[in-house]
């Protein structure tokens, strides 16, 4: 399966591919090397727990919310 992931801020889009047909959000984070303590994840615009599964065609947004200052 393939999911489109948007990274905010920066509005960068990356495609992540997995062999399985559905995966957890936390697997995507791990794949991208992002610490779950520092982000919030939206699926189709809704805040979603990292243990939730996503599948082909889901829109995932990763908001970087931990910053200095």
């Amino acid at each position: 399966m393939k999911v489109k992931v948007k990274l905010v801020p920066g509005e960068k889009e990356v495609n992540v591919q997995f062999k399985k047909s559905k995966i957890r959000i936390m697997d995507i984070l791990e794949d991208l090397g992002i610490d779950r303590e520092t982000v919030l994840v939206l699926v189709h615009g809704e805040l979603t727990p990292e243990e939730e599964y996503v599948t082909d065609g889901d829109e995932v947004e990763i908001l970087q919310v931990i910053s200095g200052g």
Binding site: P9, D35, R36, E37, T38, L40, E46, L47, T48, P49, E50, E51, E52, L63, Q64, V65, I66, S67, G68, G69
Partner: protein, 313 residues
């Protein structure tokens, strides 16, 4: 995923509770935690005049909203202090949001700048500080010392009885670890739990001290409170970033580590304080007259150094 409490649609996973919560249950959980803090630590009393140190970011903005909400039940005065360090491309935007939130809530605000108070902006300091110096400093060092000075003096002038800051659980543990590895017992004792060591210092309160940063971000997002999520261009304080990563790794390995550690420190420090009490002696700064542990306070030392570099340019 279902909410562990009501079966609704889960929005956030609170790993240290082993629960997933829906929006409503998360709001209840979050608000109850904060309510407890106010009651247990008696953060606010009647006739207080509270200055919120407001940056426009999520933590301080939420602190403002919480205190403003509390005014419906309790009688106290509230205003915001906005410090403009002079960081181009960053602070203008966050101040704009800070002001917008104050106006929306009907809270008075005062903006004080480094430039007006000390004669230079943080940008100017960073640009004039030579890289060749033996003691390399992160901009955060100046920023922190100067910001605290401005906040305290302005709050005092405006007759505030308390300064409320947005420090969260993650900030507190990072600072604590930084002081621990530096062996700086004094700094630790001075800040945990808040204790007044001089009548020149306005008492500080941290209503979000036991709330993980991620929960604050989630709450602000779900409540649609307009906050600035930008990052300070100077926020590369190496040590703090290292601490953040390290502490988060521990939390990921063992959810609950952060709050456990925070509670452990609070308990230990109250014991330590009994032993060290009275050992923190304060002098009066020869230049500015503020309380200080040295003959010349940290802020005045830095100002002198900076003025020297600026003259040489």
């Amino acid at each position: 995923m279902e909410c562990s409490k009501c079966g609704g649609r889960g929005v956030i996973s609170i790993r240290y509770l082993g629960q997933v919560l829906c929006k409503e249950c998360f709001f209840n959980y979050f608000q109850e935690k904060i309510r407890k803090t106010f009651v247990q630590q008696r953060l606010i009393s009647k006739n207080d005049r509270v200055a919120v140190a407001l940056s426009g970011g999520k933590d301080s903005t939420l602190t403002l909203y919480i205190l403003n909400n509390l005014r419906q039940k309790e009688k106290f005065e509230l205003f915001a202090l906005i410090v403009d360090e002079g960081i181009r491309g960053y602070r203008e935007k966050s101040i704009e949001l800070a002001v917008r939130n104050c106006e929306f809530l009907g809270v008075n605000y005062h903006i004080v700048s480094f430039k007006d108070f000390f004669g230079f902006s943080l940008d100017e300091v960073v640009n004039s500080w030579p890289d060749t110096l033996k003691e390399p400093r992160s901009p955060c060092t100046f920023c922190g010392v100067f910001r605290r000075r401005i906040l305290n003096n302005t709050a005092r002038e405006l007759n505030a009885t308390k300064i409320a800051t947005g420090h969260n659980l993650d900030d507190n543990i990072q600072t604590l670890f930084m002081n621990v590895v530096r062996g700086d017992v004094k700094s630790i004792l001075k800040s945990y739990p808040e204790r007044k060591i001089s009548k020149s210092f306005v008492k500080r309160i941290k209503p979000l001290a036991n709330i993980p940063e991620k929960e604050i971000a989630a709450y602000v997002l779900l409540k649609k409170i307009p906050v600035y999520f930008g990052e300070c261009p100077y926020s590369w304080e190496g040590m703090r970033n290292l601490m953040r990563e390290t502490i988060n790794s521990v939390e990921n390995f063992m959810p609950g580590a952060k709050i456990n550690f925070y509670n452990y420190m609070l308990n230990t420090l109250s014991l330590m304080k009994k032993r060290f009490i009275g050992k923190i002696e304060l002098k009066t700064c020869e230049i500015c007259g503020e309380p200080s542990s040295h003959d010349i306070c940290k802020a005045c030392q830095l100002v002198q150094q900076i003025n020297n570099f600026m003259k040489k340019e």
